[in-house]
Symmetry: C2
């Protein structure tokens, strides 16, 4: 068994944050597929043994079981000494953008893409609401990236892994990321990191059986 | 002028997280009212001078301008040595529940209460969506609090300030918090802290002119 086991599935942007970091750190890791679409994360077994919050990703490392992508990445910063902070000020900048992501970028684009593309609800009022919120957040991020190569300035950190994750599912969001030119350029900088892979090349479970 | 200036308004649960912490730390602080309901946080001036993310709270302390409640509380932990962590494991537990709050508790209840009670949209599909998401998150929190006095175990931390904030606007959520008995008991434990105050007694701008 690999040193790190990531419970995840290919469609999960939150899992991709961690999978990408593990890959770019050169970690000895493997994925354990979670059957999200048949309710595994809602099961009592999953909640009692892996994550009471009923979510992926979950990282198992030795005796440690960690949940929430931000927490897992914080742990990996400690283990690998990469993509983290040098000062408390940088640590708080990472936190600032990570929270913004979880609430307003991934927090809106995740359910938006789920409804639009995975369960295909059509353009309901809920989809339109999430779309509007997501676009407002992307406009804020785009403006910030006009003056910064990465989320906290000149270096790549876990905040970037958090913010970029769902945006690499191009064509599934119903939002054209090219409308945000600084976001697009920043995604290019992340994509050019040695070892970068698309979520579907990094985690199992794509395509979905129903879409095959 | 007080040592800490918190830009906020009484209706903001995210601001309340910080206001409550400042109060319980015995900080020398004052509130500076933000005219959110007339668009101040969306203005170019607010975004360029206080917060590019267009949100409250913003804390000004000397030359420091800090945004995002989680970041501000992290900063206050350092200043006051209270409500924080003793180990990296505790720090990550605080982060885990703070992210869960920002994405799924406050992240859903904030807009839900805004639509239901402040701008009164009626029971639209969006309100029903947010209501469902909020109740799922409260059920997870309730289960967790059956075995824990506070979010990370036996001590009160910034994770509790984050999670509790909107829940003290009782009667404005359209959710009966009493349906979650462990949540109710935990709110009682927070309320019994010396110096606890309701958001409307801690920050300016209540009642709204239109509701007066």
């Amino acid at each position: 068994m690999a040193e790190f086991v990531l419970h995840c599935m290919a469609q999960s942007g939150h899992s991709y944050k961690v999978a990408l970091m593990l890959e770019l750190c050169g970690a000895d890791w493997e994925a354990s597929w979670v059957d999200f679409f048949n309710g595994q994360t809602r099961s009592e077994e999953f909640r009692s043994s892996l994550n009471e919050m009923g979510e992926v990703p979950v990282l198992v490392h030795g005796n440690e079981t960690l949940t929430q992508s931000a927490v897992i990445m914080d742990y990996l910063v400690e283990k690998f000494g990469k993509f983290g902070w040098d000062t408390d000020e940088e640590r708080r900048e990472i936190l600032r953008w990570t929270i913004f992501d979880n609430q307003k970028v991934s927090g809106m684009i995740g359910p938006l893409r789920f409804m639009r593309t995975l369960i295909k609800t059509g353009e309901t009022d809920v989809v339109k609401f999430l779309d509007g919120r997501a676009k407002s957040a992307l406009a804020i991020l785009d403006k910030h990236l006009a003056k910064n190569d990465f989320a906290i300035g000149s270096k790549l950190t876990t905040a970037d892994f958090s913010l970029c994750s769902y945006l690499f599912y191009e064509g599934e969001l119903g939002i054209d990321v090219n409308d945000y030119q600084n976001v697009t350029a920043w995604l290019g900088r992340i994509k050019s990191q040695p070892g970068w892979k698309h979520p579907y090349d990094l985690m199992p479970g794509h395509p979905l059986p129903s879409a095959a």
